[in-house]
Subunit: 116 residues, 4 copies
């Protein structure tokens, strides 16, 4: 099956509209739900070291994948409802970050662009 | 240009690897960054009513799109690094929610599945 | 019993030190745990209207109080470990907000100080 | 000055009521604001190692203290508005955790109680 953002967004829209849920899905509410689901995703890794977090993914891949899916579903819908082309916004951000983080300066560094 | 998750993930991977950043991008750290960016997205809507949040998107579309892009970029990378097929996980979640939220019971309701 | 921040912080410190957990409680990790617990608190209110959120508190007061306690415990410890006097920081913030949000301009408005 | 939660909550209430803001401060909205501020606090530590996070606190103590204050102010108000005695809820949670994390089993371990 296709992994196109537009196709997946169409499936999300069908799910939502069959339930008449657009009335609850204003931009704020979607942003709230995204933050709550990002919190659930994070919950799997609290107190874990970087090394432990790799193992955690092995042990709980399905659960963690399900939290990622929750964030993605809400995010694709928010972009759609906001008239944002998510793929384009992602490429615009990568292009911006190409400038903010020039390869020679950023290589191997975890500093923010304004500290490089 | 294509909006395939796999294609976008490839672009993210190139950006990351040119900077040798994989060393910082363990699953925990990506989940931390996702939660922080979801917080930035939410920040645009704090204290706003649902109605106001529509206007906010009009006024700040580029800024808000940029926050969405941050979350999406990190999420696509986390899925990739975790061996998760994000499109498949999203469809699995929608299928699960089809059962949790049957159309007849869920239509027009904002209740959670365990309260329907 | 006293509700002094210092006294409560002392109790948190005893709990932590009896378990030799200071090794895990660096500032970053505490900030991660606070964000995850704030996400759990938020989870109780997702998709709810303002009105519904009042009822939710009535129905789930103990559960919600327990999430608030989680955030507070971690926050008091973070302040303590960071050499921050939380009461003083709170009063400094209120003083700053007195200037940012003058009563005559801010009354009845949900605008941010930079939009007033 | 006193660091009693009740006294600080009284100061927060005065600030809010002088601006007639109770109309915006329903439980949901406070939980949303707490999550957004917890995200801002977290933002200071993204991509940082545990060691780096100690230095970060040294370098940005005032800024970070100000984010902690934001979370605390909102949390004290949420507890107050929800009829929750925060100090009591914190002690109840510590007591619960004394049972969940017995000293002999939990010492030096970062495991969750259900994994000990």
């Amino acid at each position: 099956m296709t992994d196109s953002i537009a196709a997946l967004t169409g499936e999300i829209r069908s799910f939502r509209d069959a339930r008449d849920w657009m009335q609850f899905h204003n931009p704020k509410e979607l942003a709230v739900a995204i933050a709550a689901e990002a919190g659930e995703l994070l919950q799997h890794f609290v107190w874990q070291s970087a090394e432990q977090s790799h193992r955690r993914v092995e042990e709980r891949r399905e659960e963690i994948a399900s939290e990622m899916a929750d964030v993605a579903i809400l995010l694709f819908e928010l972009a759609d409802n906001s008239g944002v082309d998510l793929a384009e916004a992602m490429r615009a951000k990568l292009a911006k970050n190409e400038i903010r983080y020039p390869v020679e300066k950023a290589r191997g560094s975890n500093k923010k662009y304004n500290e490089l």
